[in-house]
Amino acid sequence: MKGEILAGAAVLLLFALFLYVAGMDGGAEWGGADGEAEGVIDGLTGGTYEPWISPIWEPPSGEIESLLFSLQAAIGAIIIGYFFGYYRGRRSA
């Protein structure tokens, strides 16, 4: 039980920190760190760097992007659940 409590506490702490920073309203936008890195590249090159190729396909909207991200998480979660369910069930049989 100790492990579960520790893991839960770590996740809660991260969430509390997030709420604290969000509550301070320092103008945080909660964008992706890679987007910010693109800003750093702009700063370093004086805005002259243009990506020399763009993605073949981009999700047409934020909704579709989050759909595909959820799908990725779901595929992983199904396999994890199957693995532990199968072997736990076999042990108790």
Partner: protein
């Protein structure tokens, strides 16, 4: 970040990653032939990377990033096999999410699939040798691997975009502030979650971990006793 690594850097990272991925595929084939009992665990390690790398979490810096999940695969199977697992996830994200990229795939496989896992592997082995608590070893291995991945990403960008005034070092500081700092709390969460999932693996598949030489029989016995107590 498609197109954000200029020539010759994207080619450099492809060349460095390719042999590791090829060796990883060879090792997976070996497992599939000679140690089929390890394959469910391999699927689990891949699935763990799928889940963790899909979760964009908010961090204290006011931006979001995602953990990698690669530490677990590295502890169980070593860096080469983990590189192949990461490649699968990175291709999915590059093709369907415009996240990452095909031209930056080499660089991303190197940071997430090779550098991070190498750190996880070495930290875990080092901690085990110094008889550190099993779960604490897993925590450090996974958390430091996560952090190392983003430090290497920062270095990759710094090499490609050295600052006009302070060179690579100054750029590394700038990218590191964005990536590595954001990553610190996420790395801690990844370390804790990875340690927890290893508790469950010990319960159901500890014997396979012994066969993979991740842990010895005596230690496994003690850990199992601890869980059931």
């Amino acid at each position: 970040m498609e197109g954000f690594l200029p020539h010759p850097w994207w080619e450099v990272w492809y060349v460095l990653s390719l042999p590791v991925v090829v060796y990883g595929i060879y090792r997976i084939n070996q497992l599939a032939k000679e140690r089929r009992e390890t394959l469910p665990l391999l699927a689990l390690a891949g699935a763990f990377i799928f889940v963790l790398s899909s979760l964009k979490l908010p961090s204290v810096t006011g931006s979001c990033s995602h953990p990698t999940g690669a530490g677990m695969g590295a502890i169980l199977f070593g860096p080469a096999i983990t590189a192949v697992l990461c490649l699968i996830v990175l291709v999915y994200q590059a093709l369907f999410l415009a996240h990452g990229g095909i031209t930056t795939l080499g660089a991303n496989v190197f940071s997430m699939g090779i550098a991070g896992p190498a750190v996880a592997y070495l930290v875990y082995r080092g901690c085990t040798r110094s008889k550190m608590n099993f779960y604490v070893s897993i925590f450090f291995a996974a958390a430091l691997a996560d952090l190392a991945t983003y430090l290497v990403t920062s270095l990759q960008l710094a090499l490609a975009f050295p600052s006009a005034t302070g060179g690579v070092l100054e750029s590394f500081g700038a990218f590191g502030t964005v990536f590595a700092l954001t990553q610190v709390p996420l790395a801690i969460v990844e370390g804790v979650v990875t340690a927890l999932i290893f508790k469950y693996i010990i319960q159901v598949k500890g014997d396979v971990m012994v066969r993979l030489k991740v842990i010895d029989e005596k230690r496994l016995g003690k850990l199992k006793e601890m869980i059931s107590a």
